[in-house]
Amino acid sequence: MTALGRKSWGDLRRRRARTVFTIVTISFAVAGLWLFAMPPLMDRAMQQRIAEDRLHDIRIPTSDVVLDQADLTALRGVPGVEALQARTLYDTEIVDGESRRDVLLVGIPDWRDQQVNVVLVDVGHEPGVDEVVTDRMNGRTDRYRGDIGDEVVLADRQGRPRSFTVSARGDTMLFSQLVAGEEAVLYAPQDRVNELAELDGVNSVEVRVEEGANAADVAAAVQRRLEELAPGVTLTDIADVRSGESWPGEEIFDNYTVLFYVGAFLALISALVLISNTMTTMVTEQRREIAAMKAIGGQRRQIRRSFLRTALYLGVAGTVLGVGLGIPFANLVLGFIGEQFFGVTVEWGVPLSTVVISVVVGIGATALAALPALRRAARTSVRSGFEAGFSAGRDDAIDRTLRRVPLPPATRVGLRNVTRRRTRSLATMLQITLALGIAIGFLALGATVADVTAATWDTVTFDIVLGQRSTSALDERAGEIIRSTDGVATAEPVLVNTIEVDGTQYEAFGLPGGSALSEPDLAAGRWLQPADDSGTHDVVVIGRALAAIADLDLGDTVRAQTAGGPADLEVVGIDRRLLNDGTGIYLPLSTFQKVLRRTDTNVYWVVAADQDEAGIENLATSLEERLTAAGYPVGTEVHHIEKAANLESNRVLVAVLAVMAVPIVLIGMIGLLNAMTMNVIERTRDIGVVRCIGASSRAVKRIFRVEALAIAAVGSVIGVPVGYLIGRLLAWLVTDLFHYGSVPFTFPWPAIAFTVAATLALAWLVVIGPVRRAVRLQSGVALRYE
């Protein structure tokens, strides 16, 4: 190694604390880049899972239809069909004493020959006649906590309790996701499910298509064949056709990863500022050495190269550590997201592309950040270098102003020291501003999401949703039973089903004209009116997000695909509410019934006379019991319970976002620690001097604490408005990604005040180490320090 090469190495060992801090900072930034690994890892996990599960490409929900073996063989013979399975899905309840929980019972026709949506068993054995398999997500999300050997009581169609034993734990990609969002899932022999549901056949046909086949065409062909084999069969909902290699929830995941990328980018910016600051400090303190090198023949590029080498050493070390941190960071976060929101176990992975990005950015960005320092090193003249000393006091307006302020002595010294290394102080303030601003921005985003969600829920005016189970739709008789139940103030029939617009499925609601239970907030046009029921053409009101996605405006005709066939609907209104993420479709009940070729409904919205929460829950139970006893088994959703669950789910999401902000805040604090450590080190001689003239260790500590607090305070003050701007940007990004349009922005002042206070407290704590070290030195050692 040449002497200059050894110098670069020696630069690192000279100020070990600074070297460590800088490497740690680079490593945090590089670790943040590993968020880019999440999409490919998630996609890999999902594709693996799709293959293992034999996830359907097409799922056709039907009315109860009996299909014998010949029928199934005929359906499997449809061109493009690789595999086909038909089963029964039964929505019922787990009965646990007085409490009831929604559960989907999935029928397995032949456990040993599962063709599509395979139930993968973790542990246990295939279920016998009175046995079920519990989905492993049930316990994780608290939907149902029973395990192997436990008894589980399910309600049959008449509401009678039927006892089963859990024989195994397992999961499926398709149904496990329901556990995360809606209800528990159990798997049972097909015959048993039919027995409970009082059905004769199946109501779900699931298909895997051959490679290269067009799934939409195959779906249409299977439907036609099904109608030929079972005339009178109807679709209870639009067929679910999966496009290409997409997986359930992929779009939402992609949208949220954009936020993660923003976080990684901000972390990188913070780190670059710190690296630049560090290298500049290094060059500044070596000005005399630079001058000496130049005096003995050192050329600019040689000197630049020496410092660049130092920066690259830091970059390499930081990158290696960062990759080591980033791999577990990304995999743990992704593992959590996969389990929590997708019901999928994501195996650990190390995408090569992310390794390459980490290396290139980690080392390259470090070198880039060092450029200003390299320039300064090259430009230092021999004379200025030899004349350099530790910075003297200036006498500009700031210094004169500070001198006029009467302060205790240690405070006075500490505050004035802020102006001594002005560039470093400003750079540190900038880091704290960035760190705090980003933290506040994420807090504001979380508060905005929470408030918008709560406000959206508050636009719902009904207390209970009664939903049809099994094939017994809710007709007029069911409506009479509901309205006559004690405690019901108002009840309206609603038809809920799926409509497909431009290849994407959305939830649609058929409402009685002049519905009193839907209070729209119209962005344009009008709401549904009684006259629409008998109108000459079919009208619809759509959510604003859907209007943006499908580029629809008032007067446009929506060509919608429904379970009953295509329908042309004229847009007469655009709803500003964010129900169903702003993609709701509302049409007159009669129109929807006509399109779906039915005369009944499947949902009732109910308003309770007694608005007390306990009263509402009792009413829900009462309605369920009465309807089930009358032959209308229903499931219930209570508004305030669903609202609480949704808000809780949002809190989890916000917590994940907050985790993104933690590395950035840490980088800011490392920046402050780094700067204060350098300040203490540089002023070790000053410390020796003041100790010589009688300063106590307490006074010395106060000097540096005041300096740290002053830097943190200025950084914090500027950080609040910066945080406001970042929060606005993030909120806009989110609403733009989800096509929400403008939403009220929430800036949570109490949380922000706490964050600022925490930053100042951290600044107070951060200097403990360096200052303690300083006051422990003997005065003589301090005076001789170089």
Binding site: D686, C692, G694
Partner: protein
């Protein structure tokens, strides 16, 4: 509260004993400094006694151990072996906190490179020891510091920061600071080392004036002319005192 009050309280706290009249008493003192993987013996066993009111110059070639003697006397460094008693205090037995407080109130130190705090004015630098020792009210401290600066001829430059003062003026501020708590001992490590000869002479006359007023003055110098003006000269060579007596 006056300096003498705090001084008495300090003496009680640190267990002052009678040294038989000597202000400074070093006995069999050695000092070894670590230098990388090696050790450097700066002092190899010295005995030195200085009485109150003396003006003593410590001379010797570079690296002889002159500054080390001063550092040991002011408690800036601790001896490797031997005892150091100053102003009735056994410095070995004092903690860093106690040493700092004692120095601030009883010893005035003038450094070769001034070592003023660059962001403070001349007045503030001169007030600092009083602030640390919490002697008197703010007004009293400022008044005393201003008086000391007047004494050293800088009465019209109280509000200047060090970068606005010449080397000589900075050194005078340093002397004014050293005088803040009316110390019994004034120590200077090459106090005129960075001054031109005329200024150096003025500085020395100031020190002589202080000595004439009863203050014990001890200074290190490589300037033999300045050394000759002391009442006594102590010569150190290779870490040993080779001679001590009148110049």
């Amino acid at each position: 509260m006056t300096t003498s009050d705090t001084g008495a309280a300090f003496d009680t706290a640190c267990g002052v004993t009678d040294d038989g009249g000597a202000l400074i008493d070093l006995q069999a003192v050695t000092k070894v400094y670590p230098a990388g993987r090696l050790e450097y013996p700066a002092l190899r066993g010295i005995d030195l006694r200085i009485d109150p009111g003396e003006m003593v110059a410590v001379v010797g070639p570079s690296g002889s151990g002159k500054s080390t003697v001063l550092n040991l006397i002011t408690g800036i460094d601790r001896p490797s072996t031997g005892s150091v008693r100053v102003d009735g205090h056994d410095l070995n037995g004092m903690s860093e906190e106690q040493l700092a407080a004692w120095r601030g109130q009883r010893v005035g130190i003038v450094f070769q490179f001034f070592q003023l705090l660059p962001t403070l004015t001349a007045l503030e630098n001169a007030t600092l020891p009083l602030d640390f020792a919490r002697i008197g009210s703010k007004k009293e401290r400022a008044a005393r510091a201003a008086h000391n600066l007047e004494l050293v001829g800088l009465g019209d430059k109280l509000e200047r920061v060090p970068s606005e003062l010449s080397g000589g003026e900075q050194q005078r501020v340093a002397i004014a600071r050293a005088l803040a708590c009316q110390p019994t001992l004034l120590v200077g490590d090459e106090p005129t080392g960075n001054l031109d000869s005329e200024t150096a002479l003025q500085m020395f006359e100031l020190l002589a004036k202080l000595n004439a007023g009863g203050m014990t003055v001890l200074y290190v110098t490589h300037d033999l002319d300045l050394a000759a003006r002391a009442q006594r000269t102590v010569t150190i060579r290779d870490g040993r005192i080779t001679s001590t007596g009148s110049p």
